[in-house]
């Protein structure tokens, strides 16, 4: 699956490819709960879909579960930020190689 950014009149930019086990995103957790990018399947994909509103309600009702899930999402965000920063360094400082 590819995460893409599309600008009118231009080829979509592939930001990242996702593979088995990867979460697609976390916009469901934080307001305004809107996806920022496009996700396109490159191969047949089996997707596990959860009802975001029900999941948020469950997290509020069970704080222990809510904290554990938020912690896990936080780890994924940090990891993806780390990789994205590395991507940015490699793209913008190519001549230092």
């Amino acid at each position: 699956m590819s995460l893409e950014l599309t600008e009118p009149g231009d080829e979509p930019i592939v930001l990242e490819t996702l593979h088995g086990g990867d979460p697609v995103g976390w916009s469901w957790l934080f307001p305004p709960h809107r996806w920022a990018f496009d996700a396109r399947c490159l191969t047949p994909v089996r997707l596990l879909q959860l009802d975001a509103a029900q999941l948020r309600a469950l997290m509020h009702a069970d704080p222990v579960f809510g904290l554990a899930l938020t912690h896990r999402i936080g780890q994924l965000v940090v990891q993806r930020l780390h990789f994205t920063r590395a991507q940015l360094v490699e793209i913008t400082h190519h001549d230092r190689a």
Binding site: V14, T17, H19, A86, V89, E90, D95, A97
Partner: protein, 280 residues
């Protein structure tokens, strides 16, 4: 053909070679194939030559060819300075000077009986290419042989013919990624270090060779350590500021190490602390 297997460390004599082929890898990277005008000299994967362009100067360039054919050396060069720009513009038939090979090679013997893992970024695939070729020639000596390689974009990938051939070869697992792409690329997008947690190999029984920009090698080492690869089995190659190639001028000195003489291949514990020090 007589091949000399002689110690060249410390020697400053340049030998004449003639360019036989110029292959354009990308818009700014070429591979030049050169034939000796005298006897070829054997080299080991990971070593480098000082390549001299008459009237311009010389530069340290890793050898990217098959060590089993020292009669046809290859050097892969990106145009970033006076000498490398001049090298990129040379045509077949031009004579250049080469002295070497110099430096500590990749520890392929240590990898025997273990998984051999290579992590290469951009033109960093060139210095490990001889190790890959050598390992595939003696495939039975290793467990898994894994290559993870990345580039800034699809057009920056080097040795694409080799990558396609290795990908089709069941003896090596090849994983390619790019930092950025537009739709139509069809492959992975993301930094090469993102592959390290998920590519199958036995971290406790692996030897890893990494080559690329220092920041990439740093992040790769971090990811490999997190996965459980012992630090002493992670190897990097450092190629900063080499001028004499024989441990005399001091330009490549990094703390107590002369990269040309003590390296360019180092185990991670030997250099991790030194790379952390600014202005060293």
């Amino acid at each position: 053909m007589t091949v000399l297997d002689v110690p060249t460390q410390g020697t400053l004599t340049s030998r004449p070679y003639q360019i036989t082929t110029v292959r354009h890898q990308t818009h700014d990277i070429v591979t030049i194939d050169v034939a000796p005008q005298q006897y070829p000299i054997a080299f080991r994967p990971g070593q480098f030559d000082m390549v001299y362009v008459y009237g311009v100067g010389e530069a340290a360039i890793s050898i990217s060819s098959d060590p089993a054919t020292p009669g046809l050396l290859s050097h892969t060069i990106r145009a970033v300075g006076w000498v490398t720009r001049a090298l990129n513009d040379l045509q077949p038939g031009t004579r250049i000077g080469i002295r070497g090979p110099y430096g500590r090679p990749w520890p392929l013997e240590e990898a025997e009986g273990k998984d051999l893992v290579i992590v290469a970024g951009g033109i960093g695939l060139a210095p490990v290419r001889p190790a890959i070729v050598e390992a595939l020639r003696h495939r039975e000596r290793y467990g898994r042989v894994v290559l993870m390689t990345g580039a800034r974009s699809p057009r920056d990938l080097v040795f694409r013919d080799d990558l396609d051939r290795w990908h089709a070869d069941r003896g090596i697992d090849v994983h390619v990624t790019v930092d950025s792409a537009v739709r139509g690329w069809g492959g992975r997008v993301g930094v090469v270090t993102k592959l390290i947690p998920r590519v199958p190999f036995d971290p406790e029984n692996a030897v890893v060779l990494t080559c690329g920009p220092e920041v990439m090698m740093w992040f790769s080492a971090e990811a490999l350590l997190k996965r459980g690869v012992p630090p002493e089995r992670i190897y990097v190659t450092l190629e900063r500021n080499m001028k004499c190639g024989v441990g005399t001028c001091g330009h490549c000195q990094l703390g107590p190490k002369f990269l040309c003489r003590d390296g360019p291949v180092f185990s991670w514990p030997e250099v991790a602390g030194l790379l952390d020090v600014r202005e060293l």
